[in-house]
């Protein structure tokens, strides 16, 4: 039985051999704390991941404001917001802060010169500041964290909110660090953060917080004036680099074929394939055929959202005077009349007969009348600011235009406004700023003593005609770039929403009716209209009265801050709800 013995001992040995270390294996394709943070490249790869937090293309950024009216009404603007229960519904999300702090508590392991390491630290601190700025705008006081929390960090997890001022101080520190260490714009990799982007962001933060403090009469350090001054200083620093200018958008770059006498120097800027060499662009978000696309080409002008009557009326006439004053104003019996002799930016942002809707094989097409559908543009003023004349750009997720993350025009507007708030707005300041924007579109220059608009919108308080005009310029120049609601909040200008024209569309006259197919307006199935101040207006929300209580904002309206999620308040008893909610 020799064979038997051999087989038996073979079995026995194989059992013994095979037990050894069978389960002692480690991951094959993963990075862990132990294997990361060894070289500068690691820092860069980590920082890459945060870039998607920068402003992304979209046409809906002013949807909740007095500029735009949406198909479905905004429950916020009609004061019907319900208090969200979960953190994600409320926007009380902290993943991004953790991602930044995760880096900031680990990057020190990389042994390299500060000049190599700090530019990436600067990027990450920039992103932390960006996120925290969003949080203080939304919630006011928020807890400040400078490390990635662990489950055992109960003191930090359950702490009460830090004051807005404290967090603001940290944001400024982060951004100043970023300004110190980020590369100059011409030395940065294409698409990466640079000094001027950080300066612009700091100027934006300081103007926002400074004016918020001023108009909401808040005290504390830093003071409103200090902040506004910092905003002006940082805006000026960008201006003084000499790298930027207001650019007349090229027809060639956008594929546009404008009509004679109706140049599109403003709107062309927003349909450019390459902004990396565009002097108005401080930081682009880059898109490229075959690699990465976005959707604005498809959405612009056909998402249901329309511009408000109030916004259309805010455009000056070509002589630099408001419509209530200017003899050039043709009235609003038709859209075509309404845009005649107005600030040329008006015909560049509203779909009309003077801007080609489609250019194909050198042939221009326009829409005979502006869309007034629930599925097109509910006010009859479709916003075509980001609309390309090229059909290839309209397809789903096929837009390749670069996007302005920071645009020089904003820097100029920040500087002008800050200077005006500081009572330092001289003609020289205006010529350095607002008038450069006006030059692009051929509007007369603003002076330090403009005509007071007799039909000025009501901010709830009075301001100087100069400041009024600077704010008007800001509203028009930055339309649908996402600034308006923030502006209204920092100016404490909720009163603006009381104006019914902020939720009315075109005036529906017989001429207008004749221009559209039969049955579009009035009657049982047509678009409803309503009489207001002697005219018939297109009425997007027939269920809402023109004097709806929700449109009235009190001096201490809860809506200046957002509600905290109830679940989080339940979890952390140190967390208190914002006033009024």
């Amino acid at each position: 039985m020799k064979l038997k013995n051999i087989i038996l001992s073979g079995l026995f040995v194989s059992v013994l051999i095979s037990c050894e270390g069978v389960t002692d294996i480690s991951p094959k394709d993963s990075l862990t704390d132990a294997s990361y943070w060894s070289k500068v490249e690691d820092l860069k790869l980590y920082a890459n991941n945060l870039y998607t937090n920068l402003s992304a293309p979209g046409v809906d950024k002013d949807n909740v404001s007095d500029n735009c009216i949406t198909t479905n009404y905004s429950s916020y603007l009609f004061n019907e917001t319900t208090i969200p229960s979960t953190a994600s519904e409320a926007g009380w999300t902290w993943g991004n802060i953790r991602n930044c702090n995760f880096f900031l508590t680990r990057y020190q392991k990389v042994q390299a010169a500060p000049s190599e390491v700090n530019p990436y630290v600067a990027e990450v601190r920039f992103f932390r500041a960006l996120d925290y700025f969003g949080k203080i705008k939304q919630f006011g006081d928020v807890p400040w964290y400078d490390k990635d929390l662990q489950t055992a960090d109960t003191d930090e997890l359950y702490k009460p909110r830090d004051t807005r001022d404290f967090v603001l101080g940290k944001i400024i520190e982060d951004l100043e660090f970023a300004i110190q260490w980020l590369p100059d714009a011409d030395k940065a990799e294409k698409g990466r953060l640079n000094k001027d982007a950080a300066r612009t962001q700091l100027a934006r933060v300081c103007l926002h917080e400074g004016t918020y403090k001023k108009y909401h009469a808040l005290t504390g350090t830093p003071s409103a004036n200090e902040l506004i001054k910092k905003a002006a200083d940082n805006a000026l620093a960008v201006m003084q680099t000499g790298k930027y200018e207001i650019v007349k958008g090229s027809d060639a770059g956008s594929g546009q074929l404008p009509f004679e006498g109706y140049p599109l120097y403003y709107s062309n800027q927003f349909v450019q394939e390459d902004l990396t060499t565009n002097k108005e662009c401080i930081l682009p978000r880059i898109y490229k055929e075959g690699l990465l696309y976005h959707q604005t080409g498809r959405q612009a002008g056909s998402s249901g959202t329309g511009l408000s009557k109030d916004f259309i009326e805010s455009f000056l006439c070509k002589d630099g005077n408001p419509i209530a004053v200017s003899p050039l104003y043709q009235g609003d019996n038709t859209l075509d009349k309404e845009i005649t002799n107005r600030d040329p930016r008006l015909y560049q942002v509203v779909d009309n007969l003077h801007k080609p809707y489609l250019v194909m094989n050198g042939v221009r097409q326009t829409n005979p009348y502006a869309n007034v559908d629930g599925s097109g543009a509910v006010t009859g003023y479709p916003c075509v600011k980001f609309k390309s004349p090229l059909q290839s750009q309209w397809e789903a997720n096929k837009t390749t235009y670069d996007w302005f993350v920071y645009r020089y025009a904003e820097v100029l507007l920040i500087y002008a406004e800050a200077k005006a708030e500081l009572n330092e707005c001289t003609q020289q300041v205006l010529d350095q700023t607002i008038n450069l924007l006006r030059d692009r579109v051929g509007m007369p220059h603003l002076t330090t003593s403009p005509v007071a608009d007799p039909q000025a919108v009501d901010y709830g308080y009075t301001i100087t005609p100069l400041l009024y005009e600077i704010r008007r310029e800001r509203r028009i120049e930055l339309i649908t770039e996402g600034f308006r609601l923030d502006d209204i909040k920092r100016w404490k200008a909720g009163k603006l929403f009381e104006n019914p024209k902020t939720f009315l569309g075109i005036v529906v006259t017989n001429e207008v009716i004749a221009n559209y197919p039969a049955g579009v307006f009035g009657g049982a199935s047509g678009r409803p209209v309503i009489e207001y101040q002697g005219k018939s207006y297109l009425r997007p929300y027939p269920g809402k009265s023109l004097s709806d209580a929700g449109r009235k904002w009190t001096a201490t309206d809860k809506r200046y801050l957002s509600p905290l999620p109830t679940d989080e308040i339940t979890l952390n008893s140190n967390l208190k709800q914002n006033p009024g909610w």
């Binding site: 480690s26 870039y51 807890p143 489950t151 559908d373 096929k398 197919p517 678009r527 999620p565």
Partner: protein, 1148 residues
Amino acid sequence: MNKKSIVTLPALKRAIKVMKITVLLLCVCLSQAIASSYAQTTSLSVSAKNETLESILKKIEKQSDFLFFYNLEEVNNRVKISLSKKDCSIKEIMDALSASTGITYTIKDRHIVLASPLNETAGTQQNTRKLKGKITDTRGESIIGANVILKGTNTGTITDFDGNFTLDVPQGATLLVSYIGYLSQEVGTANKDMIEIKLREDTQKLEEVVVVGYGTQRKANLTGAVAQVSGDVLESRPIANLSQGLQGVVPNLNVSVNSGAPGQSSSFNIRGTTSLNGGGPLVLVNNVQMDPDLINPEDIASISVLKDAASAAIYGARAAYGVILITTKNGTKEQKPQISLSTNGYWQSPAKTIETINSMEYLNMIDLAYQNGGGSGHYYNPVIYEYAEKYFNDPANNSPVYYDPSIDPNKYQYVGNTNWWDEIYKNSSFSQQYNLAVNGGSENSTYYASLGYNNIGGILKHGDDKYQRFNANLNLSSDITKWLNFSGKVMYNYTKEQHPAGGTSAANSTAYAGVSAYSGYLKNDLSPLMPVRHPDGNYAGQGSYTNPAAIQAQGGNTYGKKNDLWLTGALRVTPFDGLTLNADYTFNSYGQGIKTHVRRFYDYTAVAGTEGYYPWTNPNSVVMSDDEDYYTSFNAFAEYAKTIREDHSFKIMGGYNQEYKHYKFFYSGRKGLIDNDNPALNLAVGDRLMNANESHWSVNGFFMRLNYDYKHKYLLEVNGRYDGSSKFPKNDRYAFFPSLSAAWRISEEGFWEPLKSGWNDLKIRASYGSLGNQAVGSNFPYLPTYSINTAMGYILNGETPVSVGSSGLVSPSFTWETVNQVDLGFDALFLNSRLAASFDWYTRETKDMLTAGQALPATLGANVPTENAADLKTYGFEVSIGWTDQLSNGFKYWAKGVLSDYQSEITRFTNPTGSIGQYYVGRKIGEIWGYRSNGLFQSDEEVASSPKQTKLWGGSWGAGDVKYVDLNNNGEIEWGTNTLDNPGDKTIIGNSTPRYSFGITAGFEYKGFDFEMFWQGIGKRDYMVGGVHFWGFTSQWDTPLKESLDYWTPQNTGAYFPRPNWNNGGNRQTTDRYLQDASYARLKNVTLGYTFPKVWMNQIGISKLRIYVSGENLFTITDMIDSFDPETLSNMTYPINKKLAVGLNLTF
């Protein structure tokens, strides 16, 4: 104890041998020549000193293949015989024995029947007469060696080779006829000289051998909760894979069918909620982990389901939630080649048809929804309504599109009336299966070889989706020497499938077109206004709409292939009687290659030259991916069985198991195909992309089992496994898991005797076991790993760069989950074993479940890490009851029902605030929190006088909206703090756990006809379906289904649904009003077959020919809303199909 059986029960092994050989005799009909030759050619040596006859016969049996049939009471066993014969024939030996004891004998091949002349005189005092009889099975074949005794006496005889017997019977005597594997029968003898008795096979098979972990066990000796079904349940069914065939067959083996797409797999569960982080049963095919969907159902011999911890414990850390043991078919020794062919073809179509609303209903409803949400007038341009109505009323003379350049210079306006369900799915598609098997064996070896082919056609109308599976299987086993057996298995599975790609691939990951291989094609936003094609024949869509028909037809396909090769070699060594050593090694190589072709196509418009490419599939691309997995398994185990002093039987088994699996995956792709129709990676010019991953896991463990059996009455089993898994941190990698089970066969006790004729068998069982669970998420869950994006969606420096993200949080105290299970049960047989019943009650505690821990404030910034944070208790029961009977006219009929139930609840979870959004102690799994509703508001006044509902939706509520009940009477409908203390007006309104799963099988066989039907269902289940296809409109992009038309209007005040309004999410709260009763009963299968009479078939060389028709999913009873299938609970998936099949089974 008074032994009733007159044949001494030989060792179990012998009984099985008898049965096998008898069956063999019956089936194969060995020729007389061969049969007699064994007795003539075999020479034997026997030596005995003062031994009993029985002991000498045993000796002969041991060294030869001879089997003796005799009545121990009859043969004179008291005589001590001394004998010494060398190299003699059996005849010589038998003659010698006959001389010493006076017995007579007959030899027929290997069978020797002994009889005693004493028999003739037994009981002659009474008035007896000679009764002749013949015992056959239901097919008329003689039964050799059956016991025939006079009831109430020890007198009897056994049948001879022709099944005949002769017995002196007193007046009025009753005969008790029994034979192993058959049901015992009592037969009256009154006034008969000749009697014919047909024995029915014992389908309950108490003697059945059940496959258990690393071995087999007699069913009678099982102590755990193990259910076994034979491969027969899978035969002749038009099923795509094994799991579909097992649905409803074994109580508490729950099978979920996810969708009806060709090649789609199902999932298994045993005994309900396992762990909060999931976990299913371990599925082993011939003791290795194999994808059950890849194997050929026709190759399966049996399926054992080990349900309780005690039975599963031998498999350690992977078996916490039960084990499914699948055994494939083997050959039989000494059987000439048997060739069997089975085939069927079937037609399938969706089991449930769903209808979208037509264009007029759609336009009317969308306007209402728009207006109710604060909008006004028509939602669309008024011209649309006019044209749509024309087309609706007279489609023959109107167009589903019209062109108006003033609305859009290039595009058609859509005014059609399309029923998308009809357009996407065919009325029927054809599928077929073929299976060819050969098996047999010689004296020392056996073989089984099979080929299977399964071809399933999909039901997509415009695309070409299909699935094919090829199986080849070879099992060989050979006794190399008397003590060494070698066996080898080779199994090769190959599948091929094709599905429309839907534009989604790694090259095109942002392309959500909503259609993919397995997902639903009935998208939420398919407007009835869009026709399938423009009048010029081009597919509609125009870039603004997704036309699934166009994508199916032109968007390219995904081609998948799987190669799955299994090689197993096993040795079995029997060094001496009672001890067996086993070792087996299995190697598996699994590869999956997928090629995804995203094909670009024109999306035509109204004006030639303005068409563009359909954006989601442009640019075109090809992505090729490859999975390459290797798995090895090694088992070595030894078993020793010993019986001491007849009554004490021990069996001890111990061994070692290790498994290692290595995964590798990569893909590469490229955009910009030179030839749009040729997806070749080397023929593309655009961006390249690639990614890969690689991982592995391993387990090893030592296991042991001890069985003790006292007089077949008291049974005890102890299991233990010391197990290790690579999924845990090094210092916590190994753990010991014990289990214990015991059973008492009460019916073997003396006191049961009076009951035994009616209640044949009763066994009660109890078990307890503790198991670890290693099925816990990723392969290295204890290590925090960074997220890596190889091409982030952001361009830096001209490219989409690699980015690295933070790792999630990992709990520092990460360790095993432990699963403890108690099981109590009984098995019983009644009425001559015609009625069988089994019952088990169990409770399973899952301790230290790895789940998200206590909710922490969102400021943590990450998901709460998985930790051993919760305990769960699951309890339930399962019952199976079966009846099988055969009437004397040969009519055989049966019915079997299985019923199971479970519920689970949380017994530990840290949730100090009592948030109802989370687990809390006492929470039943599946619990549905919601509001109560008392109808719809009938007027605005009613709204004004009712509690305020503005917290649910801030807009203005009106007539036709859902009215909620103010349970806490605070004048307002709200959710309080969403906690148990203050849930506001929310309360528990139901539970989505499927309760009372049942399966009912009933059938008959008569004169060659066989019929069986099989129902499966769920007895109780609440389900809140929600979603677009329930509510109708949740946004302006939706298309409602017909069922959604029952909405409130001032004219339809008794409506089910509220007035349409996509803004008012308040109407769509979870509420008892819209909670669905998702219980159902579905006729899963019905089969009618006919087997041609043997006499005809034998003449043409066929041993069996059966033809049948069969239907699957033909009929469903449910209270669920019509638009949903109660099984998938979704109508956005590929529909489950009903099938109609014809097939045949042929054996040579």
